[in-house]
Structures are given as structure tokens and as C-alpha cells.
Amino acid sequence: MSEVKFSKEHEWITLEGDVATIGITKHATEMLGDIVFAELPEKGSNVEKDGTAGVVESTKAASDVYTPVSGEVVDTNQAIVDDPSKINEDPEGSAWFFKLKMKDQSEMDSLMNKEEYDKFAKESAS
């Protein structure tokens, strides 16, 4: 599995072969608060880099989930739809959102590594 990369929209992504797993970061869940609803893209649909690919809602508000890369949705995590509180519990592990079959792996290059993201998150929070 590849190194974890991060987007400016607070998604994380890992790559295994040509399949990317995408979720939202711990920092994002801390900003959102208690998550009570999740909507995921449909399996088989195609999503475009930086386009919307789902929704999360906290008690306070709804937020779009973006995909940091393009591809075909090959799997979604029904467990977080059934119990959205899992996203707060383990955002960067078992509470992944969807898996994509990537078209162009070079899209990974522009994303941040952990160190860069932590710095970005810290700056954008203040």
C-alpha cells in the first residue's frame, strides 16, 4: 500500500494497485463535530478529481465530500451509512468512504504528504 496522501479539502487517500481508498481526515471530523449522516457515491459511477462524491452532516450542518482523484467507484462503506458515528471514532481507518479504480495515477502527485497536511490543517484552523 502506498503512503497516505491528503487533499486541501481534508480527504485522505491510499493506493493499492490501481484502487484508491478515500476517507475524511481526523482533523475534518474534529472541525465538523458529531457526524450523524453520510451519503456516498453510487457503485459503478464515475467521479472527477475535486468533484463532490458524497455528503456528511453533523448536528450543525451539511458538508460536501470531495474526491481528490478521478475514477470509477468500485466499493462504498455501508457501515458508515448505517452508523455515521463510526466516522468520528475511526476516520482514518475503518471508516473509509469509498474505493475508486483510478484512471491516472499521476493525480496523486499533487497531493500532500502527512507532514505537509498537518502543517496545512494547523494553519487553516487558526
Partner: protein
């Protein structure tokens, strides 16, 4: 304009509050535990709410003040006993709501609790209506603290003996720490609880004392989910200048004895609507599944005709599901009517339901 702070601002900070701007005040939306935990703690234990941004308007006068206020409010104030409170509205001639409020008869006159965003305008309106005959004081030297939830009576009574003798919607003056507190048994969460009016310089110490006894600070986020589960209106959402108390399904708050003769501002419109019914009415709404329909969500019938709009919608932590309130055309206002909510371009099924979503635990008969 510079943001205003309540006398508890430092205490909020030291309790890791996340702040938002609300009606010109820096207010805590939540603390470190988050809205759901805070909500559940209030339902099972005792939550402390800083509501010092709300207006505390003291109006001083004798029986002639009661007469003048009856020309304004749809209440039977002549028969309101001292220290008893009523929920009411400040309206215009068309019965549009300027503000919803709690009015309590006190020895010196009346105390009215007003919404933060409306209080200055309310003061202006009431000053103009009452003229110079009565003294009005929108008291900025007092904080307002709510303590809500089943353990609140025990906690507050251990500090101020005797509050357990108050009935719901009554109040009284109590002595504590060399000052007079005005305490009412009331609230905005669907739980038993109290609101305490206390001078600003004593507020922080008083709240620290409540925390020591086991109560916890709760933010405006949980205050909103609690009141929505309790089916209570929030000004600016369910209520505004274009809505009447009849449309808001709050006719219970209008004294029956005032309906035959009217004589209060907006009475003609109210009496007409009571007779003919309002064309739109506030209802409870439960979306099917987990979908949350927020404020301004459009409501449709099964023929694609818009029949209303959501005014508040969230996830109800005690209900463990999405809940909402909104206005629908009269013919769709019956409980169990199927409606459709348009969220992110798709229509989702929902049902009109009875309010409240969460059963109340008010204490009615202590005495």
C-alpha cells in the same frame, strides 16, 4: 460593531468552548465533549446554559401598567398571580410576531425575557407604546443562567434552599451570596429546570459552584437540538414578522378570556384566523431513514406541488433520528400525512408528526 461578551466568557474559554457569533455576542456553540454528549447529559443529568445574551426587561408600575400591557399582549394579566409566568408574543397589527417572550408578574411590575436578536427593537416598541408613564429597564447588569435536566433541582437546591418549592412557570426572589437572585422554574429543553437572573459580577462564581455540584456547561448547539426535540419554536426560524401565533400552532398561548373582546395588538387578525383557520400551519416532520432536512428545505406533495418549507431540521440525539419543524398548507397538516422533502435535488419521503418529538418532564405540582 465590536462583538459583545457575556460575564461568563472567560469561563467558557477555560472550558474549551468553540465560539460562534450569535445576535452580536460571542457565544459557546459547544465545549470539548460535543453536541450529542452535551445533549444527552442534559437529558440525564444537569446542563448549565449561558443565556445572558437574552434581554431582561423590567417594567415598573401598578395596576395601570397591567391595563396598558393588556392592550399589547394577548394575556389575561389582571388574573395573573404575582410570581407566575406566561409565554407570549409582541405582535404588530397584522399579528406578525416581533418576538416571543416570557412575562412574569413581580411585586414591582413585570419582568419580560426577550430574545437576544430582538431585545433592542422590543425595548423601542414597548417604550413607544407605554410612553413615559412607566419606567423600563433593559437590564445589562444582570446575567441569565439556565440549568436544565432531571438533576438540576437537587443541584440548585443545595446552593439555594427552597427552589424545589417552585412550580413550573413560577418564580421568586431568593437570597444568595449577599444578593437577590430572581429564579423561575422554566426552560427551553423539555426538561425540568430553572432560569436564574444574577448580577454580572456574581455569575461566574455561581456557575463554578454549579459545576462543582455536578452540572456541566452546555453550548448553543445542544440547546438547539434539545429545544427542537421538545417541539419549541426558535425566533427567526419558526417565528418571524410574517407569521402569526395561530399559524405557528401556538393558540394555546393566547388567553381564552381575551378572545371574546380582543383589544390587544393584532387581535382582529388572531380572531379571524381562530375562526377560519390559517392557510399554513407549523407541524412536526420526521424524515424517513437518516436524512436530515435543514431550514429552507422545500416540502412537496406527491403531485410535485410545493406545499411548504422546513424552518428547523437536525438530528435528534435522544430520538436517535432526524427531526424537523416546518410550515405546510393546512390540508397537509394532519399527523401521518405523507410529504416529500427536496434535499440536494432529490425528493425524500417524510411524515407529518405530533410534537414534541421527545416527551416532557416538567414538574407541575410541587405545592
Amino acid at each position: 460593531m465590536e462583538i459583545k461578551k457575556t460575564s461568563l466568557n472567560k469561563l467558557h474559554q477555560s472550558n474549551n468552548a468553540k465560539f460562534v457569533e450569535f445576535a452580536g455576542y460571542e457565544m459557546p456553540i459547544q465545549y470539548s465533549k460535543g453536541i450529542i454528549e452535551e445533549h444527552k447529559f442534559t437529558r440525564s443529568n444537569s446542563g448549565i446554559f449561558d443565556v445572558s445574551h437574552m434581554g431582561q426587561l423590567f417594567i415598573y408600575g401598578d395596576e395601570s401598567l397591567t391595563e396598558e400591557l393588556e392592550k399589547i399582549f394577548p394575556l389575561d394579566l389582571k388574573n395573573l398571580k404575582q410570581n407566575c409566568s406566561k409565554y407570549s408574543f409582541l405582535m404588530n397589527e397584522e399579528a406578525g410576531i416581533y418576538d416571543d417572550l416570557i412575562i412574569t408578574k413581580i411585586e414591582e411590575g413585570y419582568l419580560i425575557i426577550l430574545n437576544a436578536a430582538c431585545k433592542d427593537k422590543d425595548f423601542e416598541i414597548l417604550s413607544n407604546l407605554l410612553g413615559s408613564k412607566f419606567k423600563l429597564n433593559l437590564d445589562n447588569n444582570r446575567s441569565l443562567i439556565a440549568i436544565q435536566g432531571p438533576k438540576s433541582v437537587e443541584i440548585l437546591n443545595s446552593i439555594i434552599n427552597g427552589v424545589d418549592q417552585l412550580n413550573f412557570m413560577t418564580g421568586n426572589w431568593f437570597d444568595s451570596d449577599n444578593q437577590k437572585l430572581f429564579i423561575t422554574r422554566s426552560g427551553y429543553t423539555g426538561e425540568d429546570g430553572f432560569e436564574i437572573s444574577i448580577s454580572n459580577d456574581k455569575a461566574e462564581k455561581f456557575v463554578e459552584n454549579l459545576i462543582e455540584k455536578g452540572a456541566q456547561l452546555i453550548g448553543l448547539g445542544a440547546r438547539d437540538t434539545l429545544r427542537l426535540e421538545a417541539g419549541l419554536c426558535l425566533y427567526g426560524h419558526e417565528l418571524d414578522i410574517n407569521k402569526t401565533p395561530v399559524e405557528a400552532n401556538l393558540r394555546w398561548a393566547i388567553s381564552k378570556s381575551r378572545l371574546s373582546n380582543g383589544g390587544f395588538i393584532g387581535s382582529k387578525k388572531i380572531m379571524n384566523q381562530m375562526q377560519d383557520g390559517a392557510s399554513q400551519i407549523r407541524v412536526g416532520i420526521k424524515p424517513e431513514g437518516r436524512l436530515i432536512a435543514r431550514e429552507k428545505t422545500k416540502i412537496f406533495d406527491d403531485t410535485d406541488t410545493q406545499i411548504g418549507e422546513i424552518t428547523s431540521g437536525t438530528f435528534g440525539p435522544s430520538v436517535n433520528g432526524p427531526i424537523a419543524m416546518g410550515y405546510v398548507n393546512k390540508e397537509f397538516s394532519k399527523v401521518d400525512t405523507k410529504i416529500l422533502l427536496e434535499v440536494r435535488g432529490k425528493k425524500h419521503p417524510a411524515n407529518v408528526c405530533a410534537l414534541p418529538f421527545y416527551k416532557k418532564n416538567y414538574v407541575k405540582g410541587v405545592n
